[in-house]
């Protein structure tokens, strides 16, 4: 289940609790605002993960290039 599906499911859960009067209007509003933040957290985390993967790829490429250079210098 991706995070958007999870958020949709949570929205239903909160609405059910509100309609069943298990939570008040202010509590319901707070939970919905929290859902909005959860969505942003997932987006920000995905952005950071993308940079981490890019960082790993760059460093791997640099290491490979450095070792290649070292091999070339050995022959010169």
């Amino acid at each position: 289940m991706n995070y958007l599906q999870q958020i949709a499911q949570l929205f239903e859960e909160y609405t059910f609790a509100y309609n069943a009067r298990q939570i008040g209007p202010a509590e319901y509003k707070s939970l919905l605002e929290g859902l909005e933040i959860e969505k942003v957290v997932s987006m920000n985390a995905a952005e950071l993960e993308y940079k981490e993967n890019l960082n790993l790829a760059i460093n791997t490429a640099i290491k490979a290039a450095t070792s290649h250079l070292g091999t070339l210098q050995h022959f010169v």
Binding site: Q22, S30, I37, V41, L54, I58
Partner: protein, 134 residues
């Protein structure tokens, strides 16, 4: 001319992303410990949800730790993404704290659901913070 300009802009932008990724702040044990503390505190606080007084204190404690994490992360160079995550956690914990501040009878179910939101978000943040370059 337009194609040339567009190509130049694309090169410039991808270069910025690469530089941003290459120089990103590395893994920090304190940062990881703080986000782990938020997650653990949120998980354990569920047990206190029947007691409004204890839950109010738990909400304030969670807000304090989230602020502590944001303050720690925001002055580390090239750490914008972790600062964004910490700011999100501050907002989330602030919502819980504010509910207890304005309502003396916060429901047990709200307490549990809000703590679950905090715990889930802290876990998402923890996973990516733990993968930062060593």
């Amino acid at each position: 001319m337009k194609t040339l300009f567009a190509s130049f802009m694309m090169l410039l932008l991808s270069g910025c992303v690469l530089l941003d990724a290459y120089f990103m702040a590395g893994y920090d044990t304190n940062e990881y410990a703080l986000v782990n503390k938020i997650k653990t505190k949120a998980e354990l606080s569920v047990e206190d949800c029947k007691d409004v007084k204890k839950s109010r204190q738990n909400a304030e404690d969670l807000y304090f730790i989230a602020i502590e994490m944001k303050n720690f992360a925001e002055n580390i160079p090239r750490n914008v993404d972790t600062t964004k995550l910490a700011t999100n956690l501050v907002e989330l914990t602030k919502q819980g704290k504010e509910q207890y501040a304005k309502d003396s009878n916060v429901s047990e179910i709200f307490c549990k659901l809000k703590l679950q939101q905090i715990s889930r978000s802290a876990e998402v943040a923890q996973k990516v913070i733990g993968k930062k370059p060593r």
